[in-house]
């Protein structure tokens, strides 16, 4: 890397990005607030579970991108950001993928004592829970399969 090239990069990325790239932080702030309100609304309106998951996680990713790109100035940083963040991101994604076959698929086998001895009780509890919820005014029974 030549000196000139280095200086050029410094001028672009090091000399406090906001000096050269004006960001309307207030607008980003309002977008983040609106997204948070959306998340709460998606919870309150009682959509089906998969739709809620897709919606709230999309909102979360949008918020995360706004924070990273504008508040953390990654939009205006040099390519070093990819060198620095790509390995950690790959490793971060790798962990759940590595755990999934053994744990995510089911961390108790169907014949494990916890499952066999609890199965009947849990089925009964499901009914009791519904009764309890109805009696106390909480009609949303917990997810028990």
């Amino acid at each position: 890397m030549s000196h000139d090239a280095y200086d050029g990069q410094v001028a672009h990325s090091d000399d406090h990005a906001h000096d050269t790239h004006h960001v309307n932080y207030l607008a980003i702030f309002f977008v983040l607030c609106a997204c948070t309100a959306l998340s709460v609304i998606f919870d309150v309106v009682h959509l089906s579970k998969p739709i809620t998951i897709v919606l709230v996680m999309s909102v979360a990713i949008t918020k995360a991108l706004c924070v990273m790109m504008f508040f953390m100035h990654l939009k205006f940083e040099g390519n070093w950001k990819f060198v620095l963040l790509a390995p950690t991101t790959i490793l971060a994604i790798g962990l759940p993928l590595a755990l999934f076959p053994d744990i995510g698929a089911s961390y108790y086998t169907p014949t494990a004592p916890q499952v066999t001895s609890w199965a009947e009780e849990i089925r009964n509890d499901k009914d009791r829970h519904a009764e309890h919820a109805a009696a106390t005014g909480h009609f949303e029974a917990g997810q028990v399969e």
């Binding site: 000196h3 280095y6 990325s13 090091d14 406090h16 906001h18 000096d19 932080y25 980003i28 702030f29 983040l32 607030c33 948070t36 309100a37 998340s39 709460v40 919870d43 309150v44 579970k49 809620t52 709230v56 996680m57 909102v59 979360a60 918020k63 995360a64 924070v67 990273m68 504008f70 508040f71 953390m72 070093w80 950001k81 620095l84 963040l85 950690t88 991101t89 490793l91 971060a92 994604i93 962990l95 759940p96 755990l99 999934f100 744990i103 995510g104 089911s106 961390y107 108790y108 009780e121 849990i122 009964n124 009791r128 829970h129 309890h132 909480h138 949303e140 917990g142 997810q143 028990v144």
Partner: protein, 351 residues
């Protein structure tokens, strides 16, 4: 020898200040730290046959969570404008914004404390949650036992009942029962205390009796409507045909018993304060572990951020351009803290 221009030293590395590079490397490790938790949560939740989502079970308050998200977003905005003010050499303005961030961090922790209190006061803690009805019954009995032991401790610790075995409840209850009729009081106990204990003795004996009765029914697994000990139990058991069983102890019977005990005018208060509502929550413990682990570590990060801002604010009017990088790096750290919460909020509070 001809004179040639000395070549300029070759500069290697990433064109950002070392402190910023260090901070980003640290944030790289932080990404892996939190995604390890989040990833584990995802696989554990996928691997569980159910998950507590009813807010009555989890005591999750989505509005408090949403409010905390808003608080962190405002604080993130204040940090970024503070850094901008630093770059513009407007240090007093930067200090004001940073102070706002610090205050909001306190607000965040305050709201978090309210949420934690809601869970702790309902015993939504890892390892404390009954997942089946039989566990719920046993948990209620254990908690009732603790209440009785605490009541009995007043007699032994005050010296009203001198004993070398203060945990021997079987013998202790006989002595407590006899206390109201005791003619003399031990010298080391003042009269007022002794009289108060004489008055409370029948109440505590009655409380012990109720707990012991429940305990015996749990051991025998017999309905509260039937005797669980003594000649009546033996006679009832003897009448059973082969393969036949006495009616089993039902969860609903125990909850009815606890409701009745809590309403009692004499010992009801002790039971109310010592025994939690015992209804079972399947996968409640793993939920509580995940909730406290993730939000706890996040709260620790908030505290670290507060320390960073306090260091800057401590400079007071001496704050100058030398602190610009520090403020930028603290800001990056704070945005990361915000970023983690952006994912924790939907994952723990909504999904």
């Amino acid at each position: 020898m001809s004179h040639t221009a000395k070549p300029t030293a070759l500069k290697m590395g990433i064109p950002i200040p070392n402190s910023k590079l260090g901070l980003w490397l640290f944030l790289g490790t932080e990404i892996m730290f939190f995604t390890a938790f989040i990833g584990s949560y995802i696989v554990l939740r996928l691997g569980s046959k159910g998950w507590p989502t009813d807010t009555h079970d989890t005591h999750i308050n989505v509005f408090l969570g949403g409010l905390n998200t808003f608080v962190l977003i405002v604080s993130s905005y204040l940090v970024v404008v503070s850094h901008e003010a630093m770059a513009q050499k407007n240090f007093s303005k930067a200090r004001m914004y940073l102070l706002g961030t610090l205050i909001l961090a306190f607000v965040f922790l305050g709201i978090k404390s309210i949420e934690y209190y809601g869970k702790i006061s309902n015993d939504i803690l890892p390892g404390h949650i009954a997942e089946t009805s039989s566990q719920a019954i046993k948990k209620a009995s254990r908690e009732l036992e603790v209440v009785v032991r605490k009541r009995f401790a007043a007699y032994t610790s005050s010296g009203a009942i001198p004993t070398e075995r203060p945990n021997d409840m079987v013998n202790l209850v006989i002595q407590i029962e006899a206390l109201p009729k005791a003619a003399t009081r031990p010298e080391n106990v003042n009269e007022e205390t002794f009289k108060a204990l004489q008055v409370s003795a029948p109440v505590d004996v009655a409380l012990h009796s109720r707990w012991m009765d429940l305990h015996q029914h749990i051991v025998a697994n017999v309905s509260l409507k039937k005797p669980a000990t003594g000649p009546e139990y033996v006679a009832a058991s003897a009448k059973l045909e082969p393969g036949e069983k006495l009616p089993e102890l039902e969860y609903s019977e125990v909850t009815a018993l606890l409701t009745e005990m809590k309403a009692d005018k004499t010992y009801g208060t002790y039971v109310t304060h010592g025994v939690f509502e015992p209804h079972p929550v399947v996968y409640g413990n793993i939920f509580a572990s995940i909730y406290f682990l993730m939000t706890g570590f996040h709260a620790i990060h908030v505290i670290v951020g507060m320390i960073l801002f306090a260091v800057v604010l401590r400079q007071g009017s001496k704050l100058d351009g030398k602190w610009t990088d520090f403020v930028e790096n603290s800001g990056l750290y704070w945005h990361f803290v915000d970023l983690v919460w952006i994912f924790l909020f939907p994952m723990l509070y909504i999904i």
